[in-house]
């Protein structure tokens, strides 16, 4: 064996995990300060640093998965005893790390071409590098506080990158909208962390107070805590869930994602499809035992996820903006992941594995879809409306065919990545349903309905964009993208199609991930023993099934999603490829359903026009009046009273000396009377 290779295999990359975070940060600084004077006016440092992170990540994977060196966690005390900065290397974080670093690296490569002509390229790359580093930090965090910190940092980068073309008002507005929607969730998430810190402290924990493994060790005692009369863990999980809804665009905080498409497409691909939006899913996965131990928490998670999945996919049907279609499908797919995590109440850690597998698969095909749509924009000088496209397949074959690959994966066409990930999710949702009575069937129902819609809107987009005749002059002569952009497309397409096959239908992945909580984690100081999820579940009133349950499900249920997908595909083909149906019959203002969808169920109207502009602005104006005229008014009133009193009473000083004498004499008399009355007591 090659000595250098053996040398590399002897390195314990887990010890360098913090460099995964630090390298992109350094890249960020270098890009920001000197990036514009380097190769192609920026991008070099970002790409190199992220490549470095990727190498270390896969090194860690090698250590843990191949060499079985075990899970590893290490931390330093931060500003207060028990508040630490730490990194944990376990299957969960590794899965995310490898996915994020790989996709992020590809997208950076793509961006070299895509952002080639942008004048502020170095800023762009600095921000993406900062984003990627923060994402690594979020993934590697071994405690809630650090996770929250990087959670906010990715939010910051999202804000900056959405508003990267700051001179466009809608871009700036979209950035603000994104931050605000997340902030609503984040403040509650922070509150949840504060509660967690408090109850941990109440139970006498002094070291690594809010690091996950420590919390897992104390779940039994924690489950006895009560806040505001409700089990503390439930409150905490609900608050975390609010954070998740914000970051992972769950209903009703999803409204920012469509607007976020104002950013460069690479940003949409990197942040709003592949990585950042998955942070919410990752949080639930990472904190899964807490949710498991908290009564009713997972049910909430499951229902919110399922509803989001269906809700978003209906919206995808009517949008004409290519990027927004994929944005809605992102929301919907995230809904699938969250739902299966909710089903963890029955299937335990398997839920985490499934969710993460779908997350990774989704990351690949969604990044691919976005990059291809980016290439479409690039090639047709920023046409985004699919009604103005058509027949692009001729002009840009690479883009078209790779987009097809992504679309197939998205609709879970057999043997693509999505097929293995999504259909298992739906099965497990059914398993969950069987355990939870009639209401328990709702998530499963939503998911299966989502399948047919997904297939429809995805291929509606693909057919309208790629096939048929060009419907605008811009679409007549599209130009194919250069190799910087082409290469990532191809690589992503390969993974989108083949990920399932590479991982033996996902089983390798699942088995790796299912070790996560149940296996011990080594630390510098000692060892965190693995936890028994069955016990934990009983704390929250859940009881987990044993493995091998899938057998009891009738094949009808198993193959239902496939047939629905075919049906959806058929509808799309009929309507938009063969044009058997005249859609204009349905797509018209009179159609109330269409109206409802077109206006996104009036959610934006509710938030922007009613809440933001009407209610809150009224409050602000009222507040200003209060401040100016009431609180400050009292102050000014006092001075006014003083001065006007003076103005009036100065007239007593008439200047006529007799009056002064009169005053003296009356003063004497008055004083005599007063002294006689009050004195001598």
């Amino acid at each position: 064996m090659d000595p250098t290779l053996t040398a590399i295999t002897t390195i314990d990359f887990r010890m360098y995990a913090h460099w995964i975070v630090l390298l992109p940060m350094i890249g960020f600084l270098l890009e920001l300060l000197i990036g514009q004077y380097t190769w192609r006016k920026g991008g070099m440092f970002a790409n190199l640093s992220i490549f470095g992170s990727m190498v270390i990540s896969y090194g860690c994977l090698y250590n843990v998965y191949v060499q079985h060196l075990g899970f590893w966690e290490y931390s330093w005390d931060w500003f207060y005893p028990g508040i630490v900065a730490g990194f944990t290397v376990d299957p969960l974080s590794l899965a995310m790390l490898c996915m994020v670093s790989f996709i992020s690296f590809l997208i950076h490569i793509y961006a070299i071409g895509y952002m080639g002509h942008d004048c502020a390229k170095h800023v762009y790359f600095a921000e993406t590098a900062l984003f990627t580093g923060s994402m690594f930090g979020l993934v590697l965090a071994n405690n809630l506080l650090q996770l929250f910190i990087f959670w906010e940092m990715v939010g910051l980068c999202s804000y900056l990158l959405i508003g990267f073309w700051w001179h466009k008002p809608e871009a700036a507005a979209a950035g603000k909208k994104a931050w605000m929607s997340c902030a609503v969730g984040d403040c509650l998430f922070l509150l949840g962390i504060a509660i967690m810190y408090t109850i941990m402290a109440k139970h006498g924990v002094t070291t690594e107070v809010i690091s996950f493994n420590q919390i897992f060790q104390h779940l039994e005692v924690l489950s006895s805590s009560v806040v505001f009369g409700i089990p503390a863990l439930t409150i905490i999980c609900i608050l975390f869930m609010c954070g998740v809804l914000g970051k992972s665009a769950g209903f009703p905080l999803h409204v920012w994602i469509p607007d976020a498409m104002e950013g460069p497409t690479t940003v949409s691909a990197l942040i709003h499809a592949a990585t950042m939006v998955t942070a919410g899913v990752y949080l639930i996965a990472r904190a899964f035992p807490i949710f498991l131990a908290a009564p009713h928490a997972l049910a909430v998670v499951g229902f919110f996820g399922a509803f989001t999945a269906l809700y978003a996919s209906t919206l995808g049907l009517v949008v004409n903006d290519l990027k927004r279609i994929f944005a809605y499908s992102t929301i919907s797919q995230l809904g699938y992941m969250i739902t299966i995590l909710g089903c963890g109440a029955v299937i335990g850690v398997a839920a985490v594995a499934l969710a993460l597998f779908h997350l990774v698969a989704h990351a690949f095909f969604k990044a691919l879809l976005f990059l291809t749509s980016g290439s479409v924009l690039h090639g047709t000088s920023n046409t985004r409306d699919i009604k103005e496209m058509g027949g692009l397949l001729k002009g840009m074959p690479w883009t078209g065919w790779t987009m097809l690959a992504g679309a197939l994966a998205l609709i879970a066409f057999p043997f693509t990545a999505g097929y293995y990930s999504k259909d298992r999710i739906i099965e497990e949702a059914y398993v969950y349903a069987t355990g939870h009575g009639s209401l328990g069937y709702l998530p499963w129902l939503f998911l299966v309905l989502g399948v047919i819609l997904t297939a429809t809107y995805t291929f509606r987009a693909w057919y309208l964009a790629m096939t048929g005749e060009p419907r605008s002059y811009l679409a007549v002569h599209p130009h194919e993208c250069d190799w910087w952009m082409r290469t990532p497309l191809v690589i992503l397409a390969i993974f989108a199609l083949g990920l399932g096959l590479f991982t033996k239908g996902g089983t390798l992945f699942w088995h790796f991930l299912e070790e996560t909580f149940v296996t011990a984690t080594n630390t510098v100081s000692g060892i965190y023993p693995g936890i028994d999820l069955h016990e934990i579940a009983t704390l929250g009133g859940n009881h987990l099934l044993e493995h091998g349950h899938a057998a009891e499900i009738s094949p009808a249920v198993i193959y239902l999603p496939f047939f629905l997908m075919v049906a959806g595909l058929a509808i799309a083909t009929g309507a938009y490829y063969r044009n058997r149906v005249d859609m204009s019959k349905y797509i018209k203002k009179e159609n109330p359903l269409y109206q409802l969808l077109w206006n996104k169920y009036y959610m934006d109207y509710l938030f922007k026009d009613i809440l933001a502009e009407k209610i809150i602005m009224t409050v602000f104006t009222f507040w200003d009046v209060l401040d100016r005229y009431v609180i400050d008014g009292v102050v000014n009133l006092m001075s006014w009273i003083t001065i006007s009193t003076g103005q009036v009473s100065r007239k007593i000083q008439t200047g006529v000396v007799q009056n002064y004498a009169t005053a003296v004499i009356f003063g004497v008399s008055l004083l005599v009377i007063l002294v006689k009355l009050l004195g001598g007591v």
Binding site: R650, Q653, V664, L671
Partner: protein
């Protein structure tokens, strides 16, 4: 110490006054007399300070115990002399080429002698004589600019109200004499002590109130204050400073002696009177000062307000629940505040005089030279005057680092020590309000737009103000010496 040597300061002044008058008849260049007066005052001040803690009571011939020299008298004499020196220095510029300036110096010396006599006297007769001596001299001084209608009117009002109140005072004294059979304050106190039936009889109350009115005229208590703003505004500025800083404090000296020694037995009666007067006086003074447009008149009202602050001393001394050290601190604080107010107010009036002088020298006056508009941009037209005046106003407002702050600290501390929280609250709120009108002047001086080019600042005025400011700042940093003096005075007064 025996003999009359403790009275040497007063003697010197009388001698100097006589000499000034006589020499003034013969020489032409009379400014030299001003310096002569100054030397006399300095010598007298030196003697007073050097013998600050002697105690000599003149029993037997020839004063029949009417005169006593004790730290209380000495500290007030020191105040009067200090003010006199400031006024005299300023007068060297103000009346340096006036043809009757010798009369001014003489009158001023006699006025100061009168004030000192009041501080020294322990007998109603002597007190009355000193009182009148000071009053009559200052009547004449108030009208010294006899071509200025305002000055005449000021003199007239001062004279009429002064005459009225002195007759009130004598009337009250006559009843006091009649009912106690003596004019000696100690004897009066003794009589009251043994014959408690007298206390609270209508006649005594009448006498007491008339005395309050008589002294209150000098101290400018509301409602006996109404002459003060007019006179202070109309009289020549340096005379106003003598009135506000000197003869006002004379009133306090008299009131301290008569009430805290003579009528201490009926303190429950004058407690009410003085509490009412104090609150009304400080409030009226401040509220009316806020709306003044003439700086001089504003200063007049502010000295009314300060009289109100000092008047709380009587309230604290008379307050039944006040402990002994509280009363001691109260009197000491009152004396200290009188002192700080004397310096600050004298300096401030001299500053006003300086401004008037500068405006006159440019004859750039339209209407009232004391109007606030003339102070716009003074910080650039006359930087030194503005700076010194600012510091003196800060001292009057009670803002560090000035002696005015320290004295207020002592005074209000004594109010809390005496347990009169509500009175202290009224005081501090008033003093916070007073900051408003002092700050107004400072604002106009420093960020108003100058109406004209720079002035030549009169050196002697500057010299006087500089002395005052140095005193104010130095006494902030080392108040201990003067505090111990005031403390000794308080003990001499309270006899504890």
């Amino acid at each position: 110490m025996t003999g009359y040597t403790p009275l040497l300061p007063e003697g010197i002044l009388i001698g100097v006054a006589a000499l000034v008058i006589l020499v003034g008849l013969f020489i032409e260049k009379k400014k030299i007399l001003g310096y002569f007066t100054l030397i006399g005052l300095l010598a007298s001040l030196g003697l007073t300070i050097s013998s600050w803690n002697i105690t000599t009571a003149y029993t037997g011939a020839p004063f029949y115990g009417a005169i006593v020299v004790d730290p209380f008298a000495q500290i007030f004499n020191m105040m009067f002399l200090f003010v006199g020196i400031l006024v005299c220095i300023a007068a060297l510029d103000a009346y340096g080429d006036h043809k009757n300036q010798d009369e001014f110096y003489a009158l001023m010396l006699l006025a100061i002698v009168g004030m000192m006599t009041v501080a020294l006297s322990k007998d109603l007769v002597a007190l009355f004589i000193g009182f009148e001596l000071a009053s009559i001299s200052t009547y004449a001084m108030a009208g010294f600019d006899k071509h200025d209608p305002k000055s005449i009117e000021a003199a007239m009002k001062y004279f009429l109200i002064g005459g009225l109140s002195s007759s009130l005072m004598v009337f009250g004294m006559s009843y006091l004499y009649g009912l106690t059979g003596s004019t000696n304050i100690d004897t009066i106190a003794a009589v009251f002590a043994e014959n408690t039936a007298l206390i609270g009889t209508p006649a005594i109350l009448l006498a007491m109130v008339m005395l309050i009115a008589g002294f209150g005229f000098k101290m400018a208590f509301v409602p006996f204050h109404m002459w003060a703003p007019d006179t202070y505004e109309g009289a020549p500025s340096i005379v106003s400073s003598l009135l506000a800083a000197g003869s006002k404090k004379m009133g306090f000296a008299a009131a301290f002696r008569v009430f805290i020694i003579g009528l201490i037995a009926m303190k429950l009666d004058w407690y009410i009177a003085f509490v009412i007067l104090a609150v009304v006086t400080m409030t009226v003074g401040n509220v009316l000062a806020v709306v003044q447009k003439s700086v001089k008149r504003m200063l007049a009202y502010s000295s009314v307000a300060h009289a109100g602050y000092i008047a709380i001393v009587f309230a604290i001394v008379a307050y039944p629940y006040a402990s002994a050290d509280a009363t001691g601190l109260a009197v000491a604080g009152g004396i200290l505040h009188a002192f700080s107010h004397a310096i600050g107010k004298a300096g401030a009036f001299i500053a006003v005089g300086a401004v008037t002088y500068m405006l006159m020298s440019k004859n750039a006056v339209d209407g009232d030279p004391n109007h606030i508009d003339n102070y716009d941009g003074l910080g650039r037209r006359a930087p030194l005057t503005a700076l010194l005046m600012t510091i003196m106003l800060l001292s009057l407002a009670g803002i560090p680092p000035t002696f005015g702050f320290t004295s207020k600290w002592y005074l209000f501390l004594s109010a809390i020590k005496g347990g009169l929280l509500w009175l202290a609250v009224i005081c501090v709120l008033n003093s916070a309000l007073s900051v408003y009108y002092y700050a107004k002047v400072i604002m106009r001086m420093y960020w108003g737009e100058p109406k004209g080019d720079a002035f030549i600042e009169p050196p002697m005025y500057l010299f006087a103000m500089t002395i005052a400011v140095i005193a104010l700042i130095a006494l902030f940093f080392v108040p201990d010496g003067v505090y111990y003096w005031a403390d000794a005075a308080a003990h001499a007064l309270l006899g504890v």
